[in-house]
Every structure is written in structure tokens, then in C-alpha cells.
Symmetry: none
Subunit: 418 residues, 2 copies
């Protein structure tokens, strides 16, 4: 079943408000086997709303509108859609009584504007809104339906999840949908696509008019998410295929996989450390606390994460990490020698099982021909083994810091696996 | 001038990815006097892309597409839009050479898939992408233009802001638009709106059919941006009004203002420190390096920022900051006493002019009835003066960490002003 989403609101088109309702609706529909095929966003203007609605109704069986249902002047969705369906407005006693009793209970005054929410389209089924004042309208048009939701995220989410989704499910039969997300780090999108080329062809060959399959690449800085999707009638076939292809991906790019679904890299490292009953600290220079932040953002990280030193200044490197002044003068802060002494110093002074260190040039200043901006030495180590590696990235300061940090976490992930 | 936005990507419609590109584009266009009139979101399918494009071209003068420009098979925007314009694909030596030289410089291998980005539509103007591999295509159609941007947020943002916006501005005439942004910290949106109520009324009275004025409140966690906007025909009037109202705002909420435009709190603090020739370090517990990250994200921060210790574990607090075991046992880590000893220890051991410390409970675990999740002791100090303050926030882990950090930076900002 195809769903279209009509987002209505000037505040979205001006960029003042970030539209998070769409993602919520998309996920929920998807999880329930409904397929969001298009989203149209328009301003609070009659002709735009009608045009968007008509366009969505061409393709979709279900159109959900979102926004413009408030009692103030700038909210025109109710009247516009009622007019589209040639519906008169009538006073609904049930809505009025519900609003009155709710306001009375809360000891609040129901003003003239809000009570107007009781005026509803005659041709719509009226669905009460338990978390706000705007009732929801359900219009039937041939075999299709149009449902108007309020735009306030809290109301929209509550109503869609707890009331509308069930109503849609009892009216329409959904396709079966399955997603599997595999998360990789340390390999570029094009490189991973190269490794999975044959699999992609196999997936394509399995598509039919009844069942649709796809492998999508979703790149982020230093990471690529692989998403397998199956949509269609044959649940068993979809499950079998997706499971089979997931295993093929695992076989072909196993070394780059750090997690599945919503897993975060720092969280999967944390799990490994917990299982090993090992502790971790960081000694960061150029990443300036960002690695520590990524690690400590994970709930429960205090179980394995002990703390860090951030040694921007030479003196800090010397005093907190016992880096020799001579090393700094002779090789510079951004060097394998300094990186190694930082790890050794951190292992000794911070006394955790594992240590991550970084020393590099995030930019925009500080680069030289031999050590351009984006150069970094990253080290990971424990008492038995120290690994250092030089990388060169080519981004702005923020992105370089991010790339340094993700690469450092990936080096630790690999070391922990060995 | 009307702009339409075509967002292309199955990952948006499945809800897997939150579309933040739209808001970024909407804001930027708006600030430059261009009006986003519609956004259509479609999946990676040819007919949907064409349909969305045609629908937007009906209304808009400029259509920007976003997404589906990668080198992998699931990215079909390039070929689809080229076909729509009846354009053959040709090999572009300039793109090829640029990619080759960029990969060579970075010491990376340019694979077969990525080099295919050199295949471009003959009828488009080719705009190089300095932050990614997908070039941008600019198509002219009668008096309208279609511009294809990559969907990777970092690339999309960089290209739109630094390359495409200027190109659009030189091609189309916009209304005169003036924005003034004033940045505040440490006051809630409703409180600041209360203080500026009269000014808001004055601004509203000045609106006419030719010139539109507005004061918008753009709240973020712990911060509110105030944005004065004037759009219209009368450039002088707009400039005079906005300048006058800016001064009124400064008079009424001066103590909360930390900057203007794109100023970041950590950057304005950095400027003050540089002017004072003073140094800074941090000693963080619950914020886990996030304050250090905010400070070190600012280019040139190494001039005043020396480094930090992050003391998650008790032992780290004792060893690196000389916090007494007795203090920790008697008062707990989250206490004024521990906070004071952390500042004193940091001033002594890290030996910078100023120090920021935090010790609190970010959650979700670790709360008690007396010290619930969201409790934090924040301290700032120098050799003459130590200020500690307790705050209680009520958010999730990520937001609490953010609120702790911003509040700590604000405390330092106020101390530096005294």
C-alpha cells in the first residue's frame, strides 16, 4: 500500500523549523508494512495545499496531511481540505463537550478561538485528539483515504502511533517489508561497492513485480551503512533472501563491519571492553577531547572508560604523558616518535588496559609541506602491544577532527578483535 | 524568485535518515532573498524523480535536487535528469584530472567506480565539487534552472553555501533582505520574549505591503538566537529599522548576549582570552571531553587552550587533580566540595590562568533522590577567584551533557567580563 505525506507549514519552507514529523511517520509506516512513496511540503496557502493533495492522490492509496490544524488565522488546512471534498462545516457537540470537560478538569479557561475546533467537515469521520485540541479528520475518496493530522510533533506522533496506525491496518492490507542495516567503517563507499558488485547483480535479478529487493549504500564521513531491503507479498522469500545476502555481505567485507541497525561505533567498542573487563583512557592532542566525548556519550561508559588527558600544549605532553622535550624538538609533536611516547606515558600514568592517542594537524593553520593540514599520527596500545599509524585527510577542521576520531576508534576496534 | 527543492533518496522515505538538508537549504535561500515554495521528496526511481522535477518546474524558477549523485548503482539522479533534458553523457577530462590529482595527493587509490563521476551530461554546466567526488550539474531550461547537488550533508552544505548561492544570486534578482542575528545564552525563550514584547509590537506595526519585518526566536538547548529580518523594496528603510531595533535588543538583554551572526560561544570566549593573553584548561568529569571539544573545535584555539584532564574514575580525580579520597567518600563526586578541589587541583597541576570544571550525573543511570540525573556542579576559576554553582537539568544524556557544557562556558564568559 502506497502512502503519501503532505507536510503543510510556512515554518518548514522558511527553514525555521526542522521537519522531524516526516521521519517519524516514515519509520512507523515502514515498520508496519506501508510504503511512503512521496512527501510533498507546501506553505499555508490554499492552492498549494490542493495541488499537493491532488498530486499525492494520483499515486498513493493513503494521504496523510500534517500541520495547519491549529485554531489561529494562519492555519487553513481544515477549511481547505473540507472545501476540496465539497463538504460543509458543522458544529460537533462531542468535540465541544470533550474540550470543555478537559479544560474544566485542568482548571483552565477555554477561549473563543479554541472552541472553534468543534467546527468540523460534515463529510469526514471525526477522530478525537486526546493530546491536543485539533480533532483528526478521516476522508474517504473512492478507494483512497485522506487523514489530517496536527503538526505539533507530540500530538502528531501520539495520534499516528496510537490511533491512526491501527485504523489504517484494519482498512488496508500492507506489504511485507524487511530492512537489514550493516554498519561499516574504514572503507570508502566506492570501494565497498566494488567488493559487492556481484551481490548487487544477484539482488537485482531477484526483483519481480511481486517482490522488490535492494542494496543501498548510505555514506557518512569514514563510514558506510549498507541497507538490504525487501518489500512485497512473499514474506518467506523476502526473509530467506535478505538473510542469505546479509551473510554474503558479512563474508565479503567482514573486517569493516562494526555493527548492525542503530549500533554506534563507540558503543560496540564499549561492549567489547566490558566483555573483556578492560578499561580505556585516551590521550588526545589534535582531536581535543572529541574521542573522549564520543566514548563518554554512551550510557554506562563509566564502567570501562576512566578518563583522559588532552595535551594541546607541549608542556602538557611533557608533564602529563612524560613525552621527552628532546623528542618534541627533534621530531615535532606530529610524529611517530611523539605518538609512541604519548601511548607509553598514558599507559603508565593513566594506568588503563587500553589507550588511544592522537597527534596531528586539524587545520586550518599549522600545516607545512612535509606535514600538511589533515596529517595525523594515531596510536592504540596496551601493555603488550603498541600500534601507530599515519593518515592524511583533506577536509576542514571539523571534518578532520571527526575523521581522526573515527579512524582512531576503528584502530582500537581492530586491535580488540585480534 | 521561487525555488523548489527535490529531495531524492529511499533512505528519507523509509525514515532511516532524517532530512536535514532541506532545512539548511531553506534557511540559506531565505537569508539570501529567495523563497522556497515547495519541497518534494521521492525515492530513487526514475519516474518519481521526473514527476517531482516537472511538478516543481511548474511553479519554481530554480529547482535544486539533492541526493542520488554517488557513483554506486542505486544513485540514478545523474542519468535520470540528463535523460530528462535529452542530454548525452560525455567524458569530462577536467573532472577526471581533478579526481586523479586529489586521490594521488592523499595517497589513495582511485577505483573504477569513482572515476565514473567523470561521465557528465553534455548539456549541463559542470561545477566542480571540492569536498566530494560528484560534480554538480547546472541545467538551463527556458528561463529556469535545475541544479543537482549531492545528498551527503557535508558536501551539499558546502557547495550550496560557497559556490551555488553566489551563482544563483548573479543570475536572479532577489528582494532586498537583511538579517541581524543576536545570540544569547542562559535565558529561556519565553523569558526573553517577555522582555522584548513591546519591541515585537513596534516591529509588527512597521510592516507594510512593500516591506516586511520580523523578530524571530530561534531556540537551541540553553541558547536563543534572536533574528531580525527585513525584506522588501526600500533598502534604506530596512537598514535603518533593523539597526535601530538591534540597539533596542542590546539595551534590553545585554547580559545574555554573547555574540552575533555565526559567532560561537567558545569562539567569543577564545577572543577574550586572546585579548587578555590568558590560558585555559578544563577538568571535566560528567561532560567527558565535550567542553574540551567545543573549545578545541575553534580554529586557532591552541593559542589559549592548553589541554585538559577528563576524570571519570575516582582515581583519576585523586591522581590528576589532587582531590582528597576523603572528600569523595564523604561528599561524593557530585558535590561542591569535590568541584572546588577539582578547580584548585587543575589550577595547580595544569597551571593555566583559567580553569573550567564539571562534575555531575548525565544519566540515564547514576541518579539518587538527593542527586537526580541532570544534577551538576560547575566551577570556573583563576588564581584570585573560584565560582561554583549547582544546576539541575532534566533531559536525556546527550542533552544534559550539552546543557552542562554550554552553562559552564557561559559561567566562564561572565567571569571574563567582570
Amino acid at each position: 500500500m502506497k502512502v503519501g505525506l503532505l507536510i503543510i507549514g510556512d515554518e518548514i519552507l522558511s527553514g525555521e523549523t526542522l521537519d522531524t514529523n516526516s521521519q517519524f511517520a516514515a519509520k512507523l509506516l515502514n515498520e508496519n508494512g506501508f510504503n511512503l512513496v512521496s512527501r510533498i511540503t507546501v506553505g499555508d496557502r490554499e492552492n498549494e495545499i490542493i495541488k499537493g493533495l491532488e498530486s499525492l492522490l494520483n499515486d498513493a492509496d493513503i494521504v496523510i496531511t500534517c500541520g495547519g490544524m491549529g485554531p489561529t488565522k494562519d492555519d487553513i488546512t481544515k477549511n481547505t481540505i473540507a472545501a476540496y471534498f465539497g463538504s460543509d462545516m458543522i458544529w460537533n457537540k462531542e468535540v465541544e463537550n470533550e474540550l470543555k470537560s478537559r479544560y474544566e478538569k485542568a482548571g483552565r479557561v477555554l477561549n473563543e478561538l479554541t472552541i472553534q475546533q468543534s467546527l468540523v467537515p460534515e463529510k469526514a469521520e471525526i477522530i478525537m485528539n486526546p493530546v491536543g485540541t485539533a480533532p483528526v479528520f478521516w476522508f474517504n475518496k473512492d478507494k483512497k483515504v485522506v487523514i489530517t493530522l496536527p503538526g505539533v510533533p507530540l500530538e502528531m506522533r501520539y495520534i499516528l502511533q496510537n490511533i491512526i496506525m491501527d485504523k489504517i491496518k484494519s482498512r488496508f492490507v500492507a506489504d511485507f517489508i524487511l530492512h537489514e542495516t550493516i554498519r561499516t567503517v574504514g572503507i570508502a563507499e566506492s570501494a565497498i561497492a566494488g567488493k559487492l558488485k556481484e551481490l548487487e547483480e544477484e539482488i537485482e535479478k531477484n526483483c519481480s513485480s511481486d517482490n522488490y529487493f535492494k542494496l543501498a549504500y548510505l555514506p557518512e564521513l569514514a563510514m558506510v551503512k549498507l541497507r538490504l531491503t525487501g518489500i512485497g507479498k512473499n514474506e518467506d522469500l523476502i526473509k530467506t533472501n535478505i538473510a542469505k545476502w546479509k551473510i554474503k555481505i558479512e563474508e565479503q567485507v567482514s573486517e569493516f563491519i562494526y555493527g548492525y541497525g542503530d549500533d554506534e561505533l563507540a558503543a560496540t567498542i564499549g561492549e567489547t571492553l566490558k566483555n573483556k573487563r578492560a578499561t580505556l583512557s585516551t590521550a588526545e592532542s589534535c582531536t581535543g577531547g572529541y574521542i573522549a566525548h564520543l566514548i563518554s556519550s554512551i550510557p554506562g561508559s563509566s564502567e570501562y572508560y576512566q578518563g583522559s588527558v588532552i595535551t594541546y600544549a607541549y608542556e602538557f605532553k611533557e608533564e602529563l604523558l612524560d613525552v621527552k622535550k628532546e623528542t618534541l624538538t627533534r621530531y615535532g609533536a606530529v610524529s611517530e616518535e611523539t605518538c609512541r611516547e604519548m601511548i607509553a606515558g598514558a599507559l603508565k600514568n593513566l594506568n588503563t588496559d587500553y589507550v588511544i592517542t592522537t597527534t596531528g594537524i586539524a587545520g586550518p593553520g599549522g600545516g607545512t609541506p612535509e606535514k600538511p593540514v589533515g596529517t595525523v599520527w594515531i596510536g592504540v596500545g596496551n601493555k603488550d602491544r603498541i600500534i601507530t599509524k599515519k593518515y592524511t585527510f583533506n577536509r576542514n577542521r571539523t571534518e578532520n577532527i571527526h575523521l581522526f576520531a573515527i579512524t582512531a576508534l576503528d584502530m582500537l576496534r581492530r586491535m580488540l578483535k585480534d
